[in-house]
């Protein structure tokens, strides 16, 4: 019997899911800026006894990023705590990949489709990655990156389905990029239950992390903060 707990707090949505031998139970709520107040209550709902190991949970999957920095840290800190306390491995999964599985579950994309998965990175940028939906798994064609909408350049010439909150910048994409979209689903958000298919594969393949190594994948690593040498004279 296989059992995985999954957590995603990378966007305005806060969601958790529990996989147990083919059965999935899940909670999903849109609670901007209040994830930390909902996460534990949701876990308590899914696992009323609180004890992860005695409930048979073998690993904890989490949306590792990109996404809201604070949101990513809430998931990462929660997973650190759960995995440390219950001596379980963690399974980091890309939020952009997760969202593509969400689209697949909702019947918005199908095997063979090319998918541009995006998230609003705020301050006028988006996160994006390109996937091809395979029979078993997603194939990641580009690594997750941050871009200004006007700077987005897509490899190849094939048409694709564009998904996610980064599409709010649609009008700012180049004509070349816009002309590649066969369909758009800007209202989509990743959900924890869609971490489960890639997490199951990762667990099978041993792609696990120790609690101490759980860390968000921020993608944007530079900080818009001036160093002393750039700050000018002190007033």
């Amino acid at each position: 019997m296989t059992s995985i707990l999954a957590i995603d707090t990378s966007t305005e949505a806060c969601s958790v899911a529990l996989y147990r031998d083919g059965e999935v139970s899940a909670c999903y709520e849109v609670v901007p800026r209040r994830h930390n107040q909902h996460l534990l209550a949701m876990l308590q709902n899914l696992l009323p006894r609180g004890s992860l190991a005695s409930s048979g949970v073998e690993a904890v999957a989490y949306g590792s990023g990109p996404g809201s920095f604070t949101g990513l840290r809430i998931a990462a800190s929660a997973v650190q705590g759960l995995c440390f306390a219950a001596a379980l491995p963690a399974l980091p999964i890309s939020t952009l990949a997760c969202q593509t599985y969400t689209a697949q579950r909702l019947g918005l994309v199908y095997e063979g489709d090319l998918v541009l998965s995006t998230l609003d990175a705020h301050i006028g940028e988006l996160y994006w990655a390109l996937y091809e939906v395979g029979r078993e798994r997603l194939q990641e064609l580009t690594v997750a990156a941050a871009a200004r909408p006007a700077d987005l350049v897509l490899p190849g010439t094939r048409k694709m389905v564009a998904i996610g909150s980064g599409l709010r910048y649609l009008d700012a994409f180049s004509v070349a990029v816009q002309s590649r979209f066969a369909a758009q689903h800007g209202e989509l958000l990743p959900a924890a239950r869609d971490l489960l298919p890639p997490a199951l594969m990762a667990l099978r393949e041993g792609k696990v992390q120790a609690a101490e190594d759980v860390c968000p994948v921020y993608v944007r690593d530079e900080i818009s903060w001036k160093k002393l040498s750039e700050q000018g004279p002190q007033r």
Partner: protein, 358 residues
């Protein structure tokens, strides 16, 4: 339940501090005292920015918290099964940084099936002298002087606080940090100013002692800041800012801050009719301040208590201690507990009231 209140229950409490730029973890046992503590200071990360960068602080807490936790469990020879509760800093502080410690603490507590409690950072500072062998007795007056706070508080017991006065503008530690920046010293500036001041000539500059001629117990340090900047600029214009100029300015600045703090502390003790002062927070590490308080208070028959140097600045031990007192009295987080970046200390429940309810 009342009968239980007399049973002395020993509790082992884990404390987590992540409110700003230090990750602190400690284990406090209500019977045996502090068992272990570990701290990682992010000073080196923030130094090139001349101040704390909140996003970088939050990122580093995520990396450091668990390794420090493992370290204190090892150092104390404790296993997680021995723990009876987890205390974490819930505020005040940087929201993103607080969130890391709070989420980690709550998920650990949930998975271990033990209670968690969000602790007030300044209550932690205020109770830090209780970690020493020689502890102050309630009631006392506390001077909290850190990078974010300058407050005089009357303390009648845990959770029984009355604000007597506070800074109307910059905190004392903040003033130290800004003055240091003007002198081209690294962040955080307090210890650097103190070091330079040792070689400074106290007779060369006379800085104003803000607010000492006004009644009341409030502070103001922004005028002092301007005076410091003007003095720095004067020196620079005359002959370039020499090392001796810097030492003399540091000395005059420190003198002015210390004199102000000493006068107000003495005034507070006299006003409240109390013989005991507690000083805590980063600035309480200042040796000149400690020495001058001791002398000034001896004259009025009062005593000053302070934490060990390592517990003056942010640390996990003070959070474990404060949390242990409250968890021991039966207080714990509600399921929707969250962080409080701003949190007036007077909102804390008195320990006596907590015991009534539990």
């Amino acid at each position: 339940m009342r009968a239980f209140a007399t049973v002395v229950l020993i509790m082992l409490i884990l404390g987590l501090e992540t409110s700003c730029d230090e990750t602190g973890v400690a284990l406090y046992d209500t019977g045996r005292g502090l068992l272990a503590h570990a701290l990682f200071s992010q000073v080196d990360i923030h130094v090139e920015y001349g101040g704390v960068v909140p996003e970088l602080a939050s990122r580093d807490h995520v990396r450091k918290a668990l390794p420090l936790l493992r370290q204190v469990l090892d150092d104390a020879g404790c296993s997680p099964q021995d723990l009876d509760g987890i205390a974490y800093t819930a505020g005040p502080g940087l929201v993103g940084a607080l969130m890391v410690g709070a989420t980690l603490a709550q998920s650990l507590a949930w998975a271990w099936g033990i209670p968690a409690l969000g602790v007030h950072h300044m209550e932690g500072h205020l109770l830090a002298p209780m970690l020493e062998e020689e502890r102050p007795e309630f009631p006392f007056v506390a001077l909290l002087v850190s990078g974010g706070h300058t407050q005089l508080v009357r303390v009648d017991g845990i959770g029984e606080y009355r604000l007597l006065g506070e800074s109307l503008d910059d905190a004392a530690g903040e003033a130290f940090d800004k003055a240091a920046k003007m002198l081209g010293l690294p962040y955080p500036g307090g210890p650097h100013i103190a070091r330079l001041a040792e070689s400074g000539d106290p007779g060369r500059f006379d800085f104003p002692r803000p607010m000492i001629n006004r009644p009341g117990l409030d502070f103001s340090f922004s005028g002092l800041k301007t005076f410091t900047l003007n003095t720095v600029n004067d020196c620079r214009r005359d002959s370039g800012l020499t090392q001796q100029d810097k030492c003399d300015i540091a000395r005059a600045f420190e003198e002015a801050v210390v004199a102000t703090l000493v006068i107000k502390c003495r005034r507070a003790l006299e006003q409240e009719g109390l013989p005991t002062l507690v000083i805590a927070g980063g600035v309480s590490a200042n040796r000149n301040l400690r020495g001058r308080l001791q002398t000034a208070l001896a004259k009025i028959g009062a005593r000053v208590f302070y934490p060990a140097p390592e517990f003056c600045t942010d640390n996990g031990a003070m959070i474990a201690y404060a949390g242990a007192q409250r968890l021991h009295a039966g207080q714990q987080d509600t399921p929707t507990a969250t962080v409080r970046p701003r949190w007036p200390m007077e909102e804390l429940p008195p320990l006596a009231a907590v015991r009534e309810v539990c």
